[in-house]
Amino acid sequence: MSNARPTEGAGEPLTLALQRVPRERVDMSPVTPSALAHASARDVPGIELRAGNRRVRVGEIFDVSGEDTAHVAIRNSCDRLDRLGAGMRFGRMAIHGDTGTHAGAAMAGGVLEIHGNAGAFAASGMAEGFMHLSGNAGDFLGAAIAGDAAGMRGGTVVVDGSAGDRVGDRMRRGMVLIGGDVADCCAARMIAGTIVVRGRAGRRTGVAMRRGTLLVTRVPALPATFADGGPPPRTFLRLLQRHLRNAGGPLAPFAQMTDDIRRFVGDRAYGGLGEILVAQ
């Protein structure tokens, strides 16, 4: 799963420990392995971050230690830290604590581990890479960033907990795996890709869905514009199962699937051929 680039100057991970909860929201996107590719660890405390309508230096709000910039750890993270891991192309980031919005947004590679909860728009516009969230995700997980035609375009996101509204909104490619439940409008306007929800989905699931696959354990009621999709696609499900099992790690639990699956196709109000597979 890892596309972490081999570390050149191996050593202790570059570690940023938050000193106190900042008053403003802080844009953390300048501190990723790829953004620091040409910087040395000594430069890190001097890096400017946008914090509300002002700028702060990393060293003013974080205690910085370690030297391996290909592996960045954030300690004491909180929901004021936005855009953690956003735009990262390679390397590994471990976030200990919650994140603000847009964690892993537009990621194009590497591994982002969040040991906590993520705010809205996590993995939005993600193109490649792997994100593992041990807690819950907010709304718009893997969705389109405002103004973008498509949401997630590749990569894999695993959420051990639950997620909010509009998971995979306008999602184009890639895979989102959710261990818990999702709120309303999951897979809304979905263009393609795969979403697996081990728990329940909320209302208006799949609304305006064009293509793609949503595998979910239970939905209260699908929009009336979803048609019966006939027998479940067993060969494809076996491929998916094997893919998840072989990937292992946090993906492995998602390989457990029941054979008792109903298939629905829609959203026919939009000419959609999206598929919702409901495990009974």
Binding site: A192, T194, P233, T235, R238, L239, H243
Partner: protein, 298 residues
């Protein structure tokens, strides 16, 4: 060099570079996977007239296939990547897509690829969908028993065609028995196929003909009925010759298959009516790959 009374000629089999792919065909049962594989590798004995040489490499248990169902791996060899692509598209389209419960996957990795499901998907008439799992893209084409799942592309390898053994015996029955034993042993070697019927060819050919239109004609030097009237390669006691042609993904695979074949033939040996093992070559001028019999048999 003699083994169990069988003379192994000091010669080499001359083989050519080809392009090959391996496809894995799965189905609801091993029997249905075999039906699809047999159909798609039919009429594929020689590139001279069939466009490709193809055969079943081995049967696969569920654990060894991408979708966990029983399957068959098939090797297809052609003279160029373009011809290989054409043959694979036609054969998979007509023989695998049509076969109940089947699915088709690439059995080779690598950057050089040919289309597998990329064009076949249009059979879905707009209802086809694609799925990307890891680095592999699959097409799901609605058909009357559900869906035909087909990987988008298949890997292509630089391969070897035309490895061969010529078995000279006291009679047809003895030559056939030796070939059957050899083929049974060679089928256990991975990465090779013996594309002729039952793995054996009785119409060995030489290059050229007295008829200008024909690129190849009967190998008169090895025809027992012509021994008295042509420049023969047979001694008077030889009454039948059969040939085994081997196509392999690597030189090592061809070599291993030849070694297994020679061993099985020699195990029958002179007591079973086998006199000699030789090989077909063109003096080393045409084929890039040479497989010396004695070195392989040692």
């Amino acid at each position: 060099m003699t083994n169990n009374g069988v003379v192994i000629d000091d010669t080499f089999a001359e083989a050519f570079g080809m392009r090959a792919t391996r496809l894995v065909i799965t189905a609801a049962s091993a029997a249905w996977a075999r039906h699809a594989a047999v159909a798609m590798t039919g009429y594929a004995t020689s590139v001279i007239g069939c466009g490709c040489e193809a055969g079943i490499e081995r049967e696969l248990e569920g654990e060894a296939t991408p979708d966990g169902r029983p399957g068959v791996s098939v090797l297809v060899f052609a003279i160029s990547r373009e011809e290989l692509a054409k043959q694979v598209e036609r054969r998979v389209g007509q023989c695998v897509l049509t076969s109940p419960t089947s699915a088709a996957y690439s059995g080779l990795d690598g950057d050089e690829r040919i289309d597998l499901g990329r064009k076949l998907r249009y059979f879905g008439d707009g209802f086809q969908t694609s799925k990307l799992l890891g680095a592999r893209r699959y097409w799901r084409i609605p058909v009357m028993d559900g869906e035909f799942v087909c990987e988008e592309t298949a890997g292509v390898a630089r391969a070897i065609g035309g490895g061969n053994l010529l078995i000279v015996a006291d009679g047809v029955a003895q030559a056939l028995a030796a070939c059957e034993a050899a083929i049974a042993a060679m089928r256990d070697v991975g990465g090779v196929i013996m594309p002729f019927p039952g793995g054996v060819v009785r119409a060995g050919s030489k290059i050229g003909s007295k008829y200008a239109a024909l690129p190849a004609s009967t190998n008169d030097a090895f025809c027992p009925t012509l021994a008295g009237i042509t420049k023969t390669a047979l001694d008077p006691a030889a009454r039948a010759v059969l040939e085994i042609v081997i196509d392999g993904l690597t030189e090592d695979a061809v070599r291993s298959a030849m070694r297994e074949g020679i061993a099985a033939i020699c195990a029958i040996g002179a007591p079973g009516g086998v006199r000699r093992i030789t090989a077909g070559n063109y003096g080393g001028k045409l084929g890039k790959f040479h497989f010396p019999l004695r070195e392989i048999a040692e």
